[in-house]
């Protein structure tokens, strides 16, 4: 089963994405973002395809994929909860809320549940530092977090 909202892997579709972006200056990053947007992660077979298209070595493309925290090498859960772990959120008790979320979901930070339902991750700053602690669930921003809002996020992810 592929992840909700994402397309199943298709080399043809990947070629098309690469083709659309390859003439941009510094095309590797826009291509990788577009690949991840389509498939939810950067599948391994796409690496040599990008390398060939941009006249780079596989090692160079692999180097780019692995350098950036955003690029996933495995599919994410159907819901992704990102809890901010940076200083401003820490000053408002994010560490304890993070422990609570991990306990509620039965996941460690960075893990995806075995049923593929939810991924829990830290994020370093959403720019919501004046309404900390902050989180993002499936791209939606949530500020002024407390245990009650964590419960709501967990319920949303379990739906």
């Amino acid at each position: 089963m592929h992840q909700a909202g994402y397309e199943p892997w298709s080399a043809e579709r990947a070629s098309q994405i690469i083709e659309t972006h390859r003439d941009m200056a510094g095309a590797a990053m826009p291509i990788l973002h577009a690949i991840q947007e389509a498939f939810g992660f950067v599948p391994e077979p796409v690496v040599p395809m990008i390398a060939e298209s941009l006249n780079l070595s596989r090692a160079e493309v692999h180097g780019v994929v692995t350098f950036y925290h955003d690029f996933r090498r495995e599919p994410p859960g159907r819901h992704v909860i990102k809890l901010c772990a940076a200083e401003a959120c820490q000053s408002m008790g994010s560490d304890a809320l993070s422990d609570y979320a991990q306990e509620r979901l039965g996941l460690e930070m960075g893990e995806t549940s075995a049923d593929g339902r939810v991924t829990l991750e830290p994020i370093f700053c959403l720019g919501l530092c004046a309404c900390a602690p902050a989180a993002m669930i499936d791209g939606r921003l949530v500020g002024r977090l407390d245990r009650e809002t964590i419960d709501e996020l967990v319920a949303e992810a379990n739906r």
Partner: protein
């Protein structure tokens, strides 16, 4: 009576606090009551503790209500919100709210007032006057105006913007670039985000002026991926500007061309460092480059490049519109103009406060910010992001100024101030600084790559009470090496939070008062 206009911000902080639900509930309630009114999605004023802050246009001015919950809407309408009438959530005229009234808004003059994607609104509030002036006086006079303003890099390094521009203008090449650093990764900062979401044309105008001034025809905004709304608003604004002939060939009849596009980062903090950012824009790993050559000589794709912080570029339009001398008259010492200071973390009145340099840290935290949100005593503030020092309360007389902070082994950075109350464990924060550096190090230089990991391990030992004195000496020595031996500010400045925590709060490191605590 003409149709009332109601403003509900479309800003990441406002959205995180429920602004979309407020706008939706309001629209439904208005429809159900058969009331004519237009909901405008403005940017935020930056008074974030009041978000969602709803404003209503009245003959007397814009009356504000906040923070508004969807469930408040019926009562607000019953109370006569559309006529600006009173209600427990009513804050009066928004311009009269002391937090806003005390500010000097030059860079952020339009934020929250206009519809971010209305070019007419932008122009009606002074927009594109700076570019018109730049076209009128020509490239070299434009560069001089920026130089005369005393504007310094708002990313933290504080390098004079005019000198960067002069260098690029004087370097001949077949292609030059303007790069905007919008990789605002410092915790406690949101100034770039506020501009992009509240006044995107201001950045576009600033970059266009820069392009025309130095002879660059192409601009890139490198925006962090954690800001999806900013990216979306900017993309739309760029398309609108292009359609209106404000980007592209023959900008405002100048005979010069300039166009720009957005590029998205991918979660690497180090890409806020200018050379790592350029590498990333080129599609490579965000590994720091050794300088020289300076980006002004060999920058993006080895071409002369102006790389400026977003706030520096967004300040250029007002400098051109009102003149370098006007801007220079604000501030103190060598810190000229205004700084958008971002009050964040455990603070009662968190938000953006733009003011002339020189205001004291204590005034910002206590008088403007209202102290902690928790109501407990302030223990320390971290100024300047994850690489900035922790300042204790006894240093609250420090004026907000590049040099005054540097004299205290601190930095103003991008203007973020994160407040912590007395429950914070400073040894834990010092450890976090090392851990963050280890997590984000690009790996090019040894002091940063290895030093940060060893630093974290050493702090673990100190916190466990293991050979404390000896390990504190090792930590101090390690910080010294990182500070002097790292290639960029990531490894070079991580010692600031670590050493300031140790210097000012030795008790949190389980120490007796007498420590081998060389504070530099």
């Amino acid at each position: 009576m003409s149709t009332a206009r109601i403003f509900v911000p479309n800003d990441a902080t406002a959205l995180a606090c429920g602004a979309d639900r407020v706008a939706r509930t309001l629209a439904e309630a208005l429809a159900a009551r058969g009331t004519e009114a237009r909901i405008v999605r403005n940017g935020s004023r930056g008074l974030f503790w009041l978000e969602p802050l709803v404003e209503v246009e009245t003959p007397a001015g814009r009356v504000s209500y906040g923070p508004v919950k969807p469930s408040d809407i019926p009562a607000l309408l019953d109370a006569g919100m559309l006529e600006g009438k009173d209600h427990p959530l009513c804050l009066g005229l928004v311009e009269e709210i002391p937090y806003l009234k005390k500010q000097t808004r030059l860079t952020f003059a339009r934020c929250g007032i206009i519809d971010p994607l209305s070019l007419d609104d932008y122009k009606a509030h002074g927009g594109y006057k700076g570019l018109a002036k730049a076209v009128e006086i020509g490239p070299s006079a434009t560069v001089e105006e920026v130089f005369q303003s005393g504007l310094r890099g708002r990313g933290g390094a504080g390098f004079p913007t005019g000198i960067k521009w002069r260098t690029v203008a004087a370097t001949s090449a077949d292609q030059k670039y303007i790069v905007c650093n919008a990789d605002e990764g410092d915790s406690g900062t949101f100034a770039d985000r506020l501009i992009m979401e509240a006044d995107p044309f201001c950045l576009i105008e600033g970059m266009t002026i820069a392009g025309l001034a130095v002879g660059a025809t192409k601009g890139y905004v490198y925006c962090r991926s954690e800001y999806p709304l900013s990216l979306a608003v900017m993309d739309k604004a760029i398309a609108i500007a292009r359609k209106a002939g404000l980007l592209g060939d023959n900008v405002l009849g100048s005979g010069l061309s300039f166009d720009m596009e957005m590029r998205m980062g991918a979660g690497a903090y180090v890409c806020g460092e200018e050379t790592a950012l350029l590498e990333s824009l080129e599609g490579k790993r965000g590994v720091v480059r050794a300088k020289p050559p300076l980006p002004a000589i060999k920058g993006l794709f080895q071409k002369p490049t102006v790389i400026n912080n977003l706030i520096s570029l967004a300040t250029v339009p007002v400098i051109l519109e009102k003149g370098g001398a006007f801007y220079r008259d604000f501030g103190m010492g060598r810190s000229r103009g205004t700084m958008p200071i971002q009050l964040a973390g455990n603070i009662k009145h968190g938000g953006l406060f733009e003011t002339a340099f020189g205001i004291s840290l204590g005034e910002l935290v206590n008088d403007i910010g209202g102290g902690t949100a928790s109501g407990r005593p302030v223990k320390a503030v971290q100024a300047g992001g994850p690489l900035g020092a922790y300042l204790p309360v006894h240093q609250f007389d420090t004026p907000f100024d590049y040099e005054a902070f540097a004299a205290k082994d601190a930095l103003i950075g991008h203007g973020g101030i994160v407040v912590f109350d007395d429950t914070v464990d400073m040894a834990h924060m010092a450890r976090f600084a090392m851990e963050f550096c280890a997590h984000e190090s690009c790996g090019k230089c040894t002091p940063c790559r290895i030093g940060s990991t060893r630093g974290k391990e050493t702090l673990d030992k100190i916190m466990a009470g293991e050979r404390r004195e000896a390990n504190l000496a090792i930590l101090t020595d390690l910080c010294h090496t990182m500070k002097l031996g790292s290639l960029c500010a990531l490894g070079g400045f991580t010692p600031y939070p670590v050493m300031s925590a140790l210097t000012h709060f030795p008790e949190d490191f389980g120490a007796s008062p007498k420590l081998p605590m060389a504070a530099e």
